[in-house]
Symmetry: C2
Subunit: 199 residues, 2 copies
């Protein structure tokens, strides 16, 4: 399609990126070839390195190229609070938005028996061992507020209580900057019911 | 930011792609790591290969990993028509949209003295040699309808006439499916002036 088989292959390969269709892939390939070969080659190297070497932390299941990730190994983080998230992306969102300085545990999914995701797949025995160490006092359950995420949260709360740990859940309500008119009914009803006393 | 330095590097490296900010880069990296390591590695290989090996065709200046590109080498394409475009992306657009089966010449830019782009940089001596071969009868000038593209078209038309070749230019007018109300004034005036007799 471009007269260069290697270029055609590159355009096709770029489509493995989420949100990249044939038009964007073409634009990316031309951009790199015309203007940015050096950074493109650096990207090739970074892809190769990360995809071959990044595995999961044996302690929190977050992405890591070392057996224990930097967050788990850090001595400056609070060892008494553990935040449980569904994915590494959720972990990153919390790290970037909040001032949280505790530990994490990444489920790499949510309970979903139909997809074959049970307690085993989510590493819950590893989580139970972690609780059994006795250091953790609070488990912040930050699974998504979806049906499956809520079911997972319920299960995790039981696990925490069984281990003598206080389970907490992120607050639900109207998003900051949102307009009541456009907030979905479920959220609005929840926010209304959980209204808080001012001052 | 993610607890894995290699992953952070990958996210940073992905930002060399046009239109990819930090949020998309993060999404792409997580997607590849979680779901598509194999295709990601294939992308790394394709990037490396294309960026190291793809150069320019010595005949038409299109991207090519061989001295003469597949389009120039093809025996099934009309050797009497030459379409001159600014970029490889324009060439691809014409290949995909039209039934054109002639030859191409890629300027890799447009006349722009302020940016240091003169006849030399656009390979116009190579183009003149090509015309001097005597095979080409029509030169379709498909530079962009911008000020610089028009100036380039004017220059190219002179070159064609000097070489005894008929210069033609893509038609301007109202885009198909466009609404007159929203077409810019210049285009509308041009389309009005160039109105065609029906049937």
């Amino acid at each position: 399609m471009t007269g260069s088989p290697l270029l055609n292959e590159l355009i096709e390969a770029l489509r493995c990126l989420p949100g990249v269709g044939s038009k964007s892939a073409q634009r990316m390939a031309f951009h790199l070839l015309e203007r940015d070969r050096e950074r493109g080659l650096r990207l090739a190297g970074a892809l190769e390195e990360a995809l071959r070497r990044v595995g999961h932390c044996t302690r929190c299941r977050n992405f890591s190229e070392t057996p224990v990730c930097a967050l788990c190994a850090s001595t400056s983080r609070d060892r008494h609070v553990l935040c449980v998230v569904e994915s590494a992306a959720d972990l990153t969102a919390i790290e970037q938005a909040t001032g949280y300085r505790g530990q994490y545990f990444v489920l790499l999914g949510r309970l979903s028996p139909l997809d074959g995701l049970g307690p085993q797949e989510l590493g819950l025995s590893l989580l139970a061992e972690r609780l059994a160490e006795g250091e953790i006092e609070e488990m912040i359950i930050a699974t998504n507020p979806t049906v499956e995420g809520e079911a997972t949260a319920h299960y995790l709360a039981e696990l925490a209580r069984a281990g003598g740990v206080r389970p907490t859940r992120l607050a639900h309500g109207v998003p900051l900057g949102g307009e009541l008119e456009y907030v979905d009914r479920g959220t609005l009803a929840h926010a209304f019911g959980s209204r808080q006393l001012l001052g």
